[in-house]
């Protein structure tokens, strides 16, 4: 009996620790939600057709942010179009060809600050390769940034598939390519979708690399092609805050709210996919 009561004491202690941990995690989540709401709500009142469809006017005191929305969309699209296929390929190669050293390099790459990627992109794409400040240069720079994220995720998921499954496929007479592309890749399809969405979320909010490689302060025309510079949501927000101050505050709030909304949408879909995966 004594033992039983001791046990119940221990488990009481456990429940208390659990309660505290739970309360703390609610607190942290609440803070994050608060932060999101503070960025989202003040801008909501500026949402109207003009805000989404017009150019900024009168020294950022009127008009809308259409070019920034379009620019962000284009740059993110370029970044994903390059990084998703390359990232999958890199992840597959890393996992199926035992390239531990390269994996190490990729892990380091994912820890480099984004502004350093920006400088690299400025040097390589804008100047050396002559793309100047452009959507393409910005998209390429961002694609380099999210490439390690995608490839690491694909790598980890591929590695989590047990060796026995690979053997089973080989035992049916499959070649390596048939094991990889027809058994392993379909098995990690959902991970690929999830990580692509997460990467989209990261790319759309990235600021520093775009200031250096793609973004302009203000555009009177829409970008003509991928070699044109563009406005983007995060850089627009930065320029507004840095250079215009109080009189453009409304536009900054509106921009922030849209940016946050995009990020929420993208991550929500990614989260839903991940849940379904489990």
């Amino acid at each position: 009996m004594n033992e039983l009561t001791m046990k119940s004491k221990a488990s009481k202690k456990n429940t208390r620790a659990n309660k505290i941990l739970r309360a703390l995690s609610y607190l942290v989540s609440a803070l994050i939600v608060l932060l999101f709401l503070m960025a989202l709500i003040p801008g909501l009142k500026y949402w109207n057709i003009q805000f989404f469809t017009q150019f900024p006017k009168d020294g950022m005191t009127a008009g809308g942010i259409f070019p920034a929305i379009l620019g962000s969309f284009l740059i993110t699209a370029v970044a994903l179009a390059i990084s998703i296929p390359l990232g999958i390929l890199l992840g597959v190669v890393l996992s199926e060809y035992n390239l531990e050293y390269i994996k190490f390099v990729v892990t380091i790459l994912s820890g480099i600050p984004s502004v350093v990627y920006g400088l690299f992109g400025l040097g390589l794409f804008c100047i050396t390769m002559g793309m100047r400040t452009s959507i393409l240069a910005g998209g390429l720079t961002l694609s380099l940034m999210v490439l390690p994220v995608i490839s690491s995720s694909v790598y980890e998921t591929m590695r989590s598939i047990p060796r026995e499954l690979r053997e089973a496929a080989y035992a049916l007479g499959a070649r390596k390519s048939e094991v990889i592309f027809e058994m392993l890749l379909p098995a990690v399809k959902k991970t690929i979708i999830t990580v692509s969405l997460v990467s989209a979320g990261r790319a759309i909010g990235e600021t520093a690399p775009l200031i250096l490689t793609a973004a302009v302060f203000y555009a009177t025309n829409l970008p003509r092609n991928l070699l044109s510079p563009a406005m983007t949501l995060p850089t627009h927000l930065y320029f507004l805050a840095a250079a215009y101050g109080q009189k453009a505050r409304w536009m900054a709030e509106g921009t922030a709210s849209i940016l946050i909304l995009f990020v929420i949408i993208v991550y929500t879909i990614a989260f839903a996919f991940r849940r379904e995966e489990k």
Binding site: E164, R166, A168, A169, Y170, A171, L172, G173, E178, A187
Partner: protein
């Protein structure tokens, strides 16, 4: 020594003075063995005796391991499968394998079988459908899954998963099927189903099964090979080996003194 005199049976596989190494470690030592058509040959022995290594050498699946090396010959219809001109992909299609743990691919039941069919060039929808049904029937799984072929195979029970793996193996119509302790991860009921299934399959396929379970060998196999520490100690009709083992070590294994 070798009292298997199966004059009436066609020999499918002949293992001749075959040794296998993991790096410096010799896991199979100079094995000699004959496998006959449409018979069940059980390879039995305590764990670590090299029985799985020997089995996994027959479809060259151990080639995937970096340090694996072999000596000697494994003849499949008289042709050494370790010859340079052997296409291992064709070889593995003709010598199928079912593993210890069930290995359903993380896709639908249907796609699990269609995957193998695609490897042998069968992609015509109607034919794939027919083969899926045929193989699932043969594996005694059809009646249980016929209404949920799109269900993810990983959600089947362990026994069902193993029968799916058998269906997947037979769908591409191999000649020989290798079973590597196929029931060691299963409960007794599922085990019994797999055992009777293997017995039925012997009418169409040549079967080699690795097991450390004496009861299993005695229930289903025609021939039994007993291995110990990498060597084939003796081989005979299963009933003979069980009744009258020639070697002391075999006797000890059969009586449960080693295992």
């Amino acid at each position: 020594m070798n009292s298997m005199n199966s004059d009436f049976n066609e020999m499918v596989i002949e293992i001749k003075d075959f040794s296998a190494y993991y790096g410096p470690k010799k896991a199979v030592k100079n094995a000699n063995l004959k496998v006959y058509k449409n018979k069940i040959t059980a390879i039995m022995g305590p764990s670590g005796c090299g029985k799985s290594t020997l089995l996994r050498s027959i479809n060259r699946i151990n080639d995937l391991l970096p340090d694996f090396k072999v000596d000697g010959e494994i003849l499949f219809h008289g042709k050494n499968i370790y010859d340079k001109d052997i296409d291992i992909y064709t070889l593995r299609r003709r010598i199928g394998m079912v593993f210890q743990k069930p290995t359903p691919f993380p896709m639908s039941i249907y796609d699990n079988i269609a995957y193998g069919l695609k490897l042998i060039g069968i992609t015509d929808k109607k034919e794939v459908k027919e083969r899926v049904k045929w193989s699932l029937e043969k594996a005694a799984l059809w009646s249980e899954v016929k209404d949920e072929l799109e269900k993810n195979a990983t959600r089947l029970s362990g026994g069902q998963q193993q029968r799916l793996c058998i269906a997947r193996a037979i769908a591409i119509e191999p000649e020989v099927i290798l079973f590597d302790e196929p029931t060691s991860a299963l409960d007794p009921v599922a085990t019994q189903k797999i055992e009777s299934l293997i017995e039925e399959l012997a009418s169409e396929f040549t079967i080699i099964i690795v097991t450390h379970n004496i009861g299993q060998a005695s229930r289903i196999s025609d021939y039994t090979v007993f291995m110990y520490q990498g060597e084939i100690v003796e081989q005979n009709y299963t009933s003979e080996i069980l009744r009258n083992p020639q070697h002391e070590i075999t006797q000890q294994f059969l009586s449960g003194k080693i295992g």
